[in-house]
Symmetry: C3
Subunit: 341 residues, 3 copies
């Protein structure tokens, strides 16, 4: 592909020689001749001058050092799109392969791939261009939209619904029973979890995550939300659109997240908490109360991020503060005595 | 079912019209005519007056607002039992289905369902009315009791024993090797993990959890204990009866939990620690020493919960405390000088 | 086996009767006649006198109480080797079993075992004496070395490479997509994850862990590193040799660990951080900056372990410190007034 054609495809400005042939894309330090690379972080601007790449994607205000360049508003996004353009292989549907098991009353769209070891339960509905990698299990009555990809080992439990273009990575479980018991003396009586899970369009969930079905209604993951590996979403949670939930975070039962909320890695959100749009919770924090829209919290328990940074900076000084306090008490007593004695 | 019959089945007092027909159960806000709902949290008592449900399960001391009601000591438990009554479908055993693989010298009870993709190793013993969903793996010599349900993707490793009525959700692993190595210079020599896991009756474990086999003896999960998703139980742990271990908690090697212990989400328990009966550990805490029966701890490292709440409330004030301390030092020096100078 | 032969096999000194027959090994408290046991922890030295075992492995400086003994420099290591000697059953290769699915252009070494339900993708290369337990999935182009063991439910994604003698426990995922998105307005545009994962020789990874493929280059796990259950290793991480990463720890993107680093359970390492050789990070800590070789850190955020212990000991005293500070302010004002007023 010529650089000129790429610039046109992205609708971006070209600087330098548009005739240069681009065969692939690569990171700044690994790129060679024929590669297109990109400058996302201005910190590395000087590398543009010396990269071996044939051309660079960079932002309007970056120095192109007389290199061939595509100038864009958002180089990170442009690069992601280029990478998609260059690396997406055409999908060859493989049909229902030998060794896959399909139950009764199943409706399957066109151009699907269902690999060996995958088991499709009775009454399941599967859209067009769906890929079910090996050893996936769809329980009774599951509904999958179009262009869904479920990786090996994924389980989707009874009646859960998955939207279009959803990707679930390996081992992830959708619709396991919520963790609900009523105390009966010293024992725990299981509360049937008869609700479901709805996962909207364009959601992606990493490996070995778990999204529990609701006790009675619906656990809901909003359109475009991205969830990392080993995340737990408990029963009855309602997660808004375009949220980002980083690895090993845990969202307890009936928590509600607004739109475009960011949850850091290993964060815990306790049950019944409500988190407003655009809020951000820092890594390893624990949210124990409602969070207003736009708030940035950190710590366990979580407090405003700036306050937490300041207090954390004081924390290592606690022993000296305690000693100093004790010395002040003594000095004060002496002063008081001298003054009044 | 008539409301009167339900009241009789539960052995509870009826208020209002016993002839009303109940077709199902639902949460207070989603219930409609023909539904029975329940009031678990007194906070929502006013909703009893306005719910569309045909009847309400509530506790002795709650106002029934002249609605049809079943009056019980523990409405949460009564509702769980009703839900079970109304929602449990009769189990239809499906036998050993095509696509399931059963090894040699396997003993299988009556009325089982073994789904496609499930592999039963040599010498396994399976009780009556067991359901093995698709893609389950039982290694050699595993023993399952009666009425066990293993969901898709579960692995039970060599020789582990699972009691009656145990439920393991999708992807959970029982009996993986404990994490044990002896240092050999800079490297790590694997210590064979030749112990086993015993899971007693009525245990339920969530999705993608892991219970390691003991190094030499037994990792033990006591009767009636409930374990949530993504929990780690390390080798040689002994967990008592009726414990509750919430999502993403981790119990390190050789820890011992008494009876009816509650472990919050994302809690860490370090190795060789002993936790007494009825103790409660709050979300995201880290327990680094023994815990007496009945103690309630929180924080990392964990301290008594009340003390922790009070200290956490002071934490955001640390910067101002440090400044105030510095000012006091200065004021003190000035006072001392004035007094003595 | 005679005790004398065992001592010779280990190249160690024998004390007492070399003719005694050893039939097996067991822990100090569970050992009986015919057993060899070991004293690893000097705390339990007195038990050597009373154990029912026929012989004890102990260190040079321990009292043998006139028991038959093998005296070694490192009893823990010696015992691990003995346990391996006594408990390793000869591996019987089972070939490609009925119910396993093997794709096209696959190269398979000698003496392998490939169990039912396992799916080997096109172009995969498998070394000698490899065991693939049931329901394993190898995607296209995966390469496995010799003597590799993949337990049931493991997934290895497109093109990832696994060295010799690697053990992956059940449900672990190698090569799932890294968590990378470019913001596009309010939405997230998926950045193709076109890199790979390389796992070097002698690595062992526990159950339900996840190692993401790199965005463009390689996520790398160094030789001899041991990783526990439910650990997350994000894209582009480079982990050195002989590291130990305990359960539920999470290593964020592009983090670098040196050689022989110890990461405690539930630790979080934020992205792009570099951790020097031999550093140790204590349980549940959060590392937010680079760590020098040999440092021992703890806390969230992590600070030197000793400083953290001291500050954590002061933490419960914060409320009384705050009160005392307030009282001092008052006393100071009174003194100042008395002095100057």
């Amino acid at each position: 592909m010529k650089l000129r054609d790429i610039a046109e495809a992205l609708g971006c400005r070209l600087v330098g020689d548009g005739e240069v042939e681009i065969a692939g894309v690569a990171g700044m330090e690994h790129a060679g001749p024929g590669h297109l690379t990109f400058l996302a972080n201005p910190k590395y601007a000087a590398k543009v001058a010396t990269t071996c790449a044939s051309a660079v994607v960079l932002s309007f205000n970056a120095n192109s050092f007389n290199r061939n360049a595509i100038v864009v508003e958002n180089p990170h996004l442009a690069f992601a799109k280029l990478l998609t353009l260059f690396t997406t292989r055409p999908r060859v549907p493989r049909g229902i392969m030998k060794g896959a098991f399909v139950g009764e009353d199943v409706v399957i769209g066109k151009d699907v791939s269902i690999f060996p070891g995958t088991v499709v339960g009775d009454g399941v509905r599967i859209g067009d261009r769906v890929t079910l990698h090996p050893n996936v299990t769809l329980y009774e009555g599951v509904v999958l939209g179009d262009d869904v990809t479920l990786h090996a080992g994924v389980s989707v439990r009874e009646g859960c619904r998955i939207g279009n273009r959803v990707i679930l990575h390996n081992g992830t479980v959708i619709g396991s029973d919520g963790f609900g018991y009523a105390p009966e003396g010293q024992s725990w009586f299981k509360i049937p979890q008869i609700g479901t899970v709805i996962i909207e369009d364009d959601v992606e969930i990493g490996a070995n995550a778990a999204v529990d079905r609701a006790a009675m209604e619906t656990t809901h993951i909003g359109r475009g939300t991205k969830i990392d590996n080993l995340v737990q979403v408990a029963h009855n949670c309602v997660i808004g659109e375009d949220c980002v939930i980083v690895g090993q975070a845990g969202i307890a039962g009936s928590a509600r997240l607004g739109r475009h909320v960011t949850i850091g890695g290993q964060v815990g959100i306790v049950n019944h908490v409500s988190i407003g749009d655009e809020a951000m919770i820092s890594v390893q924090s624990c949210v124990i109360g409602n969070v207003a829209a736009g708030e940035v919290l950190s710590g366990s328990p979580a407090i405003p991020h700036h306050a937490r940074l300041k207090s954390a900076a004081v924390f290592p000084h606690l022993p000296e503060m305690r000693k100093s306090l004790a010395r002040l008490e003594t000095r004060m007593s002496i002063v008081e005595e001298e003054l009044r004695g």
